[in-house]
Symmetry: C2
Subunit: 385 residues, 2 copies
């Protein structure tokens, strides 16, 4: 049995990871669970999976945990000898230090918390590989790319990442200022956590996937393309040297890529995972990305290309801006304005050590709050349905 | 340099194989070329590629070949020590004996002449593998499946073969009796030889691919599906145990699968091969196969499942019927009627040795002519455009 540590066990990916554990009761021993503030669910998970180690972010919530659990910070949890596999399903910067520690300790890390590789791509990548741990993609797009690359030897010619385009793909541009959190959270194809759902509406999430692909698969920027595919059935594609393109498909459901990362390279049947229904008619459409509609996309890819501590600043400013948007304190397009101003104000460190990244992350959070507060408050919008 | 023998060098696949040879002038030494009746083109090919060995079907045409070429029957050509790779791009039953001889002599055979594996799937498959030669798929659909299986270890759950549906996918059913050779030869997406183009209009070709997949990839019949995909961009798909589906895509162009078979497992850039253009919008549609529209499909798959010498009879009767249709001697739907009657009249041998297969092939040709002659002649149809 594989000793599994789940960071972010009460989030969307954490809960679905536990669905896979339930589907294969003889395969995993849940060694550790770490959550944020949802102690009620964490208590249920502790009851069901009996982990040896537990973490919960706030001291106040921690007080509500059952007696007898061993509180262990995430960075320590991932280094335990019986932690054979780490699922990093935390959000934002929370997973950075634990992921670095896990890789330093030569542990395989299933990485759903993509901000980690946005903030510290070079560092994380340098720790993965022959002398360190292994990075296993979990997100559906990098998982698709990873599956398409399976068994292929030559360099890729192009990675083609698909994007649903989010809920505002066809909205009139003038309505974008007035988008409400409720509308941004209504993703057309994927049911996901709140942060990533807003990142999908701005296409920040897609820029993150471009940056992630650059590091995970070691491809130059100009070989990564994004195409809009509103049905989210084709999860991504790879074009090889001879022009042949391979794609990975399936109904939009995260349990498949989660399971793939947990059992790689083995593929196991799991009745929970929905199948592509060829008894129905399907229409899969692909179209070029409308860049003006999604200013976050270009800005974020640029920050990724600049490197240094810019990507860490990008990720931190986005985390703050999305949270402020969800709280109704800034408008939807202010997410872009906030991050753009913070990036403009930043002077990158020369290096990108963990300390430099964490300092840039801290600086960007403070600055993002300042910038956001200086913006005019969004006008509450009432809409007819 | 690889010594290459091309059987059927003046046909569509043969000519495109020579395009690949031209694109990689340091990779191949053309050892042998065999053609049917197109001596003019064969002479040009001899001039350009200087093969050591040549064959041409008819004695009369053979007389037109340049002096100094060594006439060598295909079955001997494929056994030469300097024949490192055989491209079997003949049509119908012509490639059967040479392919069997090549595999017996442990040669790798790039198989475009799919009738060979229809006629003699079990035999050919038993000769390929560790103790014999290797079979390398050339057709776009099995090549797609082969590419999707690359690097995958587990059994497949489903093979999903795509079918364009041919030129009559949306024609009124009552018009099918009146289809002319010209209409049947007007394939919407692929430019191919005449026999395979008519087989694509009846969907006989797709049934052949089902039978081919069953043998090439050793999958049971109930794991092979066909879906209609009119754009011919997705060349086929494979579903794995975990529900993940991989697809291989590209513009419809045979040079890619031909090149893949010649260089496998290496993928090489070739500017001749068109690329998937992601700068354009694409709509890829998939729908269930309308079986009533294509009676040849179900009949042929049934013959494949029955085994014995039925598939050889199927292939031979189809070859005769298609030729008679192209000559205007029977109608389009008579292709089905002829083959159905011949199959109904056949009593399969118990075994399926090469002799039994060749005897069944001979019997079926004679019987198909008799059956076709007994059918009422098609009424010449004049159409307004």
């Amino acid at each position: 049995m594989k000793g599994l540590v789940i960071l972010g066990s009460t989030g969307s990916i954490g809960r679905q990871t536990l669905d896979i554990v339930r589907a294969f009761p003889n395969e995993f021993n849940v060694v550790g669970l770490a959550a944020g503030l949802n102690v009620e669910l964490l208590k249920e998970q502790i009851e069901e999976f009996r982990p040896r180690l537990v973490w919960c972010t706030s001291e106040q919530h921690r007080g509500l945990l059952p007696d007898g659990v061993t509180l262990t910070p995430m960075e320590e949890m991932v280094c335990q000898p019986d932690a054979d596999l780490i699922m990093a399903a935390t959000i934002g910067s929370a997973g950075l230090v634990p992921t670095v520690r896990a890789l330093e300790n030569k542990k395989p890390v299933a990485l759903a918390n993509k901000e980690v590789i946005i903030m510290a791509g070079g560092l994380v990548k340098s720790l993965a590989g022959p002398d360190g741990g292994t990075l296993l993609p979990v997100d559906s797009e990098p998982s698709a790319i990873w599956q398409c690359l399976r068994g292929e030897k030559e360099d890729v010619r192009r990675i083609i990442i698909t994007a649903s385009g989010g809920p505002f793909r066809t909205s009139p541009m003038e309505d974008m200022e007035k988008v409400t959190p409720e509308e941004a959270l209504n993703h057309p194809t994927w049911k996901m956590g709140r942060k990533i759902t807003v990142d999908s509406a701005t296409l920040m999430n897609k820029a993150f996937e471009v940056i992630e692909a650059r590091w995970l698969f070691d491809v130059p920027w100009d070989k990564i393309e994004v195409v809009v595919h509103p049905q989210s059935i084709v999860h991504s594609m790879v074009e090889f040297a001879d022009g042949s393109v391979k794609a990975q498909l399936g109904p939009p459901d995260m349990r498949l890529p989660i399971q793939y990362s947990l059992f790689y390279p083995t593929r196991l049947p799991n009745q929970q995972i929905p199948r592509l229904d060829t008894g129905l008619s399907h229409s899969l459409t692909f179209q070029p990305l409308e860049r003006e509609r999604y200013p976050c996309f270009g800005m974020a890819v640029e920050a990724g290309k600049k490197g240094g501590t810019y990507p860490a600043v990008l990720s931190a400013a986005d985390e703050v801006a999305v949270e402020l948007f969800l709280q109704g304190r800034i408008g939807f397009m202010d997410i872009y304005r906030t991050i753009d101003r913070v990036l403009g104000d930043h002077t990158s460190s020369l290096g990108s050590s963990l300390d430099e990244i964490l300092a840039a992350d801290h600086w960007a959070r403070v600055r993002a709050h300042e910038v956001a507060e200086s913006l005019p408050a969004p006008t509450p919008v009432s809409r007819s349905t």
